[in-house]
């Protein structure tokens, strides 16, 4: 809502986090990451952190939300919230926002969040910043400062929506740090329900398919072996698969490799793919355009293999290996066998 005066601004308080649930009950780790960010903002604003959970079975989720920093949880439990229905969730959230007036509203920049939250922001006439990598409070006026990569990541833009409330932002999974859960922490639970009006004009969900185990789970991988343009074709990625298997890691790719059809989109790392925070990221023949770097630069140890040692990736890496990856990688695999070593098991 557009604010007309400073008085109105004071009607909005608290930082909200929209919980991300799969199947209406399975809380996703990104929600805890968002609560971590929200706690910092709430400290600066001297207000509370509220989580909002929409689902069909929230008992487990509520405990986790409390443990990760929620002071209050608005729980909307309804059998119809078992699958993601943009219109239904938007209608419920619009009512809740108008009723409780949060100052800040954070959500996950997942497929669900990126469909639902713009719809909600549009309804509310609120400012929304997508894919924030940094959130802070302006010490001068208390507004939310939202930093995000713009222009394919060539610049970082700081955005505010000072004259509007709530101030809304999405954050991608793995960008913020989740707090250590405190099992003893309890939250006050506010029960809200789905109204008849909320379901008047919504889509019909015919079928939902949730894959139990995704074959590509880059976001959780501790070790990623990633290939770019220099892999030359799909055969190159077979070498990387063998290397990743030897190390117990997953295979990633640059946008160039995906756009060339050498490997499927779920493997893409970067601004338009996944953001990853692996312990070890091995970039093979990836020059390191900024869009790619944004998706992986918070990995702990970055290793680059390339024939050209002037590329941004070779400059950025912790360990830069100059050489032909088609010769070097088989040698490394041989050497790992000779030394009887492998990467440290993260568990």
């Amino acid at each position: 809502m557009k604010l007309v005066n400073a008085e109105e601004r004071r009607n909005y308080s608290n930082v909200w986090v929209l919980a991300e649930l799969v199947g209406g009950k399975e809380l996703q780790p990104v929600s805890c990451e968002l609560l971590g960010a929200a706690s910092g903002l709430a400290r600066d604003r001297n207000c509370e952190v509220w989580a909002v959970a929409l689902g069909c079975d929230l008992s487990a989720a509520i405990d986790t939300l409390a443990a990760c920093g929620a002071d209050k949880v608005i729980a909307v439990e309804d059998a119809r919230l078992n699958a993601f229905n943009d219109e239904l969730e938007c209608n419920v959230l619009e009512r809740l926002v108008r009723k409780y007036r949060p100052e800040i509203f954070l959500g996950a920049a997942t497929n669900r969040g990126r469909a639902l939250i713009p719809r909600l922001a549009s309804r509310l006439y609120a400012g929304l910043t997508a894919d924030c990598t940094g959130l802070s409070i302006d010490p001068e006026n208390g507004d939310l400062l939202q930093t995000r990569p713009a222009f394919g990541g060539n610049i970082m833009a700081t955005i505010r929506s000072g004259g509007f409330r709530p101030q809304m932002a999405t954050v991608r999974p793995k960008v913020m740090k989740a707090p250590d859960p405190d099992e003893h922490r309890k939250a006050e639970v506010i029960r809200e329900s789905v109204d008849d009006g909320d379901t008047a004009h919504i889509k019909q969900i015919i079928e939902t398919v949730i894959r139990q185990e995704t074959s590509v789970n880059l976001s959780d991988a501790r070790i990623i072996v990633s290939g770019g343009r220099a892999m030359k074709g799909p055969e190159g990625f077979r070498l990387l698969e063998a290397f990743a298997n030897r190390l117990g890691g997953a295979v990633g790719a640059s946008r160039a490799a995906v756009d060339n059809g050498w490997i499927a989109y779920p493997h893409q790392v970067g601004q338009t793919g996944r953001t990853v925070q692996a312990d070890i990221y091995i970039a093979c023949g990836i020059s390191g355009q900024i869009q790619h770097l944004i998706g992986m630069q918070s990995c702990k140890t970055i290793i680059a293999i390339d024939t050209d040692d002037t590329t941004p990736m070779m400059q950025l890496a912790d360990i830069a290996i100059k050489g032909d990856l088609f010769e070097v990688i088989p040698e490394i695999m041989k050497q790992l066998d000779t030394e009887h070593v492998s990467c440290i098991n993260p568990l």
């Binding site: 639902l116 889509k203 140890t301």
Partner: protein
């Protein structure tokens, strides 16, 4: 079936600059193309019309030069095109942009289906599609990977989620944002491209779409860019390894051992 496809002109490369005053993108002087995701939206709109009949209207907002991407949409088979073009639209964020596009769709009238690309590659926000749907109270499906069936009163589509997919049925009017998986955009025939260049593309102003001037442009946009800065640098020293493949592999494995990144495993 009356279909509107929303397209955006974006800089061809990422080397465009930022206006230090407005902090907005300077579009003048950089080569511009149709947002790559929008090619799939145009293809889908045209192929749906080819199956069930009707009309495809390509819609964009931008400077007069944005006519070029509309010409491209026409050459791919869109029936007509409209460009929202006025200083008053300038500097609109995603809220104000979706408001203007929604007003235009409402002015076109009788629209059953709106199709957008997944997101624009310059902003990467994916907010305009859902913003249009919200303002027109249309049902929406984002990240559509397949159109399953087109009925008389509803469309059934498959959309991608983090952990799988949904099949959803939307009554018209509905809005879809589509993924690259959905189709293979056609290459326009030379004859069609030539004809498209001659097409008359009307420029619509705020008054033509009944837009409230307090809802468009920089001043009415809820988000304001306050600062831009280069991306943060990583603070480290690069350890460089060179030599023959064998030497390199040996040095690399030793270095990983020294850093504690490797451990001994029992060979079988």
């Amino acid at each position: 079936m009356k279909i509107v496809v929303c397209i955006k002109q974006v800089p061809a490369t990422n080397d465009a600059s930022i206006d230090p005053q407005t902090k907005r993108i300077v579009r003048e002087g950089t080569k511009a193309i149709m947002n790559p995701f929008d090619l799939y939206a145009v293809e889908e709109a045209v192929s749906i019309r080819e199956r069930v009949g009707g009309e495809v209207i390509a819609l964009s907002m931008g400077p007069e030069s944005a006519k070029n991407v509309l010409v491209e949409a026409l050459s791919m088979g869109a029936d007509r095109a409209v460009l929202l073009c006025d200083r008053a639209f300038g500097g609109s964020d995603t809220w104000a942009t979706s408001y203007a596009l929604a007003r235009a769709i409402d002015s076109i009238g009788g629209v059953d289906l709106v199709i957008c690309g997944k997101q624009a590659v310059d902003g990467d926000t994916a907010q305009v599609g859902a913003g249009i749907a919200a303002k027109l109270d249309m049902l929406q499906a984002a990240n559509v990977m397949k159109v399953e069936s087109i009925g008389a009163d509803a469309i059934t589509v498959k959309r991608m989620n983090e952990r799988g997919w949904d099949v959803v049925r939307l009554r018209y009017p509905a809005l879809l944002t589509v993924l690259k998986d959905i189709n293979f955009p056609r290459i326009p025939r030379l004859r069609d491209a030539r004809a498209a260049r001659k097409a008359d593309i009307p420029l619509w102003k705020p008054a033509d779409i009944g837009a409230d001037l307090d809802r468009i442009g920089l001043k009415s946009s809820p988000t304001q860019v306050v600062k831009t800065a280069p991306p943060p640098a990583r603070d480290n020293v690069t350890y460089r390894i060179e030599g023959s493949p064998g030497e390199v592999a040996h040095a690399f494995v030793r270095e990983l051992l020294d850093r504690g990144l490797l451990q001994e495993v029992r060979s079988e």
